[in-house]
């Protein structure tokens, strides 16, 4: 995969203040060293929820079920808010 991956995020902007669903953008810069020792970098702006469009359903289902089930556990008192 890679020897090392570093991520820098910033410029988080709430673009959904007047919309019925959450929307935001942020800039992410990836810097990584591949297995051959070569450095790489890439920076781009991501938008939620638009960035979900390109994710295959089989993976999106896994991510989303994890989120939904974590919240369901918290609501029932059998899970913890991970950021509390």
């Amino acid at each position: 995969m890679a020897r090392e991956v570093n991520v820098y995020t910033g410029q988080w902007t709430n673009t959904g203040a007047t919309t019925p669903v959450p929307r935001w953008t942020f800039v992410a810069r990836f810097e990584w060293t591949d297995d051959a020792g070569l450095p790489h970098s890439d920076e781009r702006t991501y938008t939620f929820p638009n960035a979900l469009n390109g994710i295959p359903t089989r993976r999106l289902r896994g991510y989303m079920e994890t989120i939904i089930m974590n919240e369901a556990r918290i609501a029932r008192g059998i899970g913890r808010d991970p950021d509390a």
Binding site: V5, N6, Y8, R80
Partner: protein, 364 residues
């Protein structure tokens, strides 16, 4: 500056001023009350209580509780000094081991805090604490309140539960220049568990720790005051989702850290030139010594107080990882049979012995 004693066979009606007149519980000592400069030696055994701290020490005169593993200051025999907020070792649920609000200059050393699902030390607005040489099964520290300063956590081990943090510095208001230090600690965790989680507190130094198996090894959750930093140096961080995570780049200057086998090594830190991604390659000799029938206790042997000792199970093995026959007719769980004859020192089939915290191949 009085020395008090706590131990099995004691009585909270005693004065606590000698081993013969020892208190039965830590709360019994605390309620004397102890005073600035006092020392409390606690003898080997399990203390099933939640200690409520009533008193503060003072600058240069902390109140010190010492778990006397060697027994030199208590019964002459020694052993593990375990404090657990539960009467039931079968249960996962525990009360916090210790709670303090606005109590300062306190020191704890030499204890096993068995908080399992809860927190060993829940402290609200407390300053100038030292936790030294303790092992925690559970969350070690939840530091809450408005302002807490100068905590030192060192030479300790934490095996933290899923969903919690090994060490949590969490304040309701921004705290600058806290001067907290976490050093020489081994922190291990699990799912949705963070090693050192920080919210709204600047000026924390994190150095020379080994931090394994967390969601975030170290995470700063809330942006700091401009100019405030957390300094992270000389740590080994591995097998985490993310090694070190910051909110903005300048907040976590880090250098001389080895971060490897993480999905993301770091995010938003200011990485120095001397950090690296070398796999830690931890010393495996304890494993081979154990496989060769050694007499060493490994970090994964069950303790004598474990409820998993001699519980019958299905499909039991007849020998353990060491190749030793299972003792008795019942079976234990895990690969390492509990054997009271095993020790942390002395020879083994491969001639290893323990020096400090490292296994050394003995030439002698």
């Amino acid at each position: 500056m009085t020395t008090y004693y706590v131990g099995s066979g004691g009585n909270n009606a005693n004065a606590g001023t000698s081993w013969a007149l020892r208190k039965l519980t830590l709360n019994g000592a605390e309620d004397i009350p102890v005073a600035a400069g006092d020392t409390v030696y606690v003898g080997a055994g399990a203390y099933r209580e939640s200690l409520t701290l009533d008193v503060s020490g003072s600058a240069g005169n902390p109140i010190t509780y010492i778990g006397d593993y060697s027994g030199a200051n208590t019964d002459g025999v020694g052993g593990v000094v375990r404090i657990t907020g539960s009467n039931d070792d079968l249960a996962v649920t525990r009360a916090n081991v210790m709670a303090a609000t606005s109590k300062h200059y306190r020191t704890f050393t030499g204890f096993q805090f068995d908080s399992t699902s809860a927190t060993a030390i829940s402290a609200t607005t407390c300053t100038d604490w030292i936790v030294d040489g303790c092992i925690v099964y559970g969350q070690m520290l939840q530091l809450l309140g408005a302002t807490s300063l100068r905590w030192t956590i060192r030479n300790s081990t934490v095996l933290a539960p899923a969903g919690l943090k090994a060490i949590q510095f969490f304040h309701s208001a921004t705290v600058d220049n806290s001067a907290h230090v976490v050093e020489n600690c081994l922190l291990m965790g699990g799912h949705n568990c963070d090693g050192i989680a920080i919210s709204r507190i600047g000026g924390i130094t994190i150095r020379n720790n080994t931090i394994l198996f967390f969601r975030y090894g170290i995470i700063n959750n809330v942006a700091l005051t401009v100019g405030q930093t957390e300094t992270v140096n000389n740590n080994i961080i591995a097998w985490c989702n993310a090694g070190i995570a910051g909110i903005s780049t300048a907040e976590i200057p880090e250098n001389y850290n080895s971060i490897s086998q993480c999905v993301t090594a770091r995010s938003n830190t200011s990485v120095g030139a001397n950090s690296n991604a070398y796999p830690p390659l931890l010393d495996p000799r304890w494993f081979f010594a154990a496989r060769a029938g050694g007499t060493l206790v490994t970090p994964f042997d069950l303790s004598s107080s474990s409820q998993l000792v001699n519980v019958a199970g299905t499909s039991p093995t007849t020998t353990d990882m060491r190749g030793a026959s299972v003792i008795g007719s019942q079976r234990e769980w895990g690969p390492l049979e509990y054997n009271s004859a095993l020790s942390t020192s002395g020879g083994s089939a491969l001639g290893f012995h323990v020096v400090g915290s490292s296994f050394v191949r003995g030439a002698e």
